[in-house]
Symmetry: C2
Subunit: 188 residues, 2 copies
Amino acid sequence: MQPERQRQLSTAEERRETVLRTAIGAFAARGYFGTTTTEVAKAAGISQAYVYRLFTDKEALFVAVVEHCFVRVRASLEAGAAGARGSSPEAVLSAMGDAYAHLISDKDLMLVQLHAQAATVSEPAVREAVRAGYARTVEYVRGASGGDDRQVQEFFAVGMLCHLVVSMDAGAVDAPWTRTLTAGIRHY
Amino acid sequence: MQPERQRQLSTAEERRETVLRTAIGAFAARGYFGTTTTEVAKAAGISQAYVYRLFTDKEALFVAVVEHCFVRVRASLEAGAAGARGSSPEAVLSAMGDAYAHLISDKDLMLVQLHAQAATVSEPAVREAVRAGYARTVEYVRGASGGDDRQVQEFFAVGMLCHLVVSMDAGAVDAPWTRTLTAGIRHY
DNA sequence: GTTGCATGTGAGTACTCAATCACTCACACT
DNA sequence: AGTGTGAGTGATTGAGTACTCACATGCAAC
């Protein structure tokens, strides 16, 4: 027998990544204030006490989750843009929008962004993370698409409208007003 | 002396209105989960116990606050539209946007809307209130402006972008990315 | 002025939450 | 086998939390 990987303990770094991944699902439903560290621990399959060995406190945990979300969003935009390199700004923005629509077909990622935006008001650390996340994302979208201010702004405005539609689950309501708001918004 | 109003006790209905008005400021900072009923009581100048005589529970209180916000938003849009009656859809939408910008120069109203949107995910009663609020608002904007689906959708997309900008306090950050996001967004 | 009812509160209850700590166990290395 | 270190947990704590209830007070009508 080879000395194949058989240990039952993970490294702290692996655990941290597991927590970041699974905590998205936990925070998605009830946000920063409404989600307990016990729920996060359960989602990651560890004890609540151990959460505090991996992250200094609940705020640091949430901030790490938010940063993780922004990284994933950017990765998805990059993948989308890669398929339309050299095209017109409109085409690149459309490809990015499409990639993003795929990314958030699982709603949790988007919901965490929404909750982070709300928590921003009272939690300075979260505000810094969200600002930094949008700063990088806006500049990336501008650079990769070559679009002007107007186009980039519209890209994010539509993204925000998307957040509204998803949070209300407007897709589940068939009415003129939901059709107006969701018109042309891709979802998979 | 006339029998002028001199009583020190309010009617329950008056108190309820006071609570709705002042609770906006309380909920604005930390949202549904993060705000305590004690804070709401303090803001209204009554005891925490009495909050529960005026509203059946915290959820009903928050829902009432959210509905109150939507009423105020609609009133402000109506006032804006009144000043541009008979003009082109673009002009009416612009007047509405201007009225809304004035309304939310005090950020609390907008922040409550944002927090309500977030709470929507896990609180069905809040979801219903938010859906009903947007349903009426979308139809009002459509009817009063005479704009088509595309214009109405953009009106709300810009509104959502506005929420993002205010929640992050992007106006306080002077950088290319904030200038891109806030370009053309009125604030007073 | 006393009766009846609505307004309003102080002092709780039962519970949950973030955070801590003493502790056990797994593993690599000698 | 022995030892040092990092992974991981059960039990607990102290500070809130939503919500309740017995009781007080204001006020109008008779």
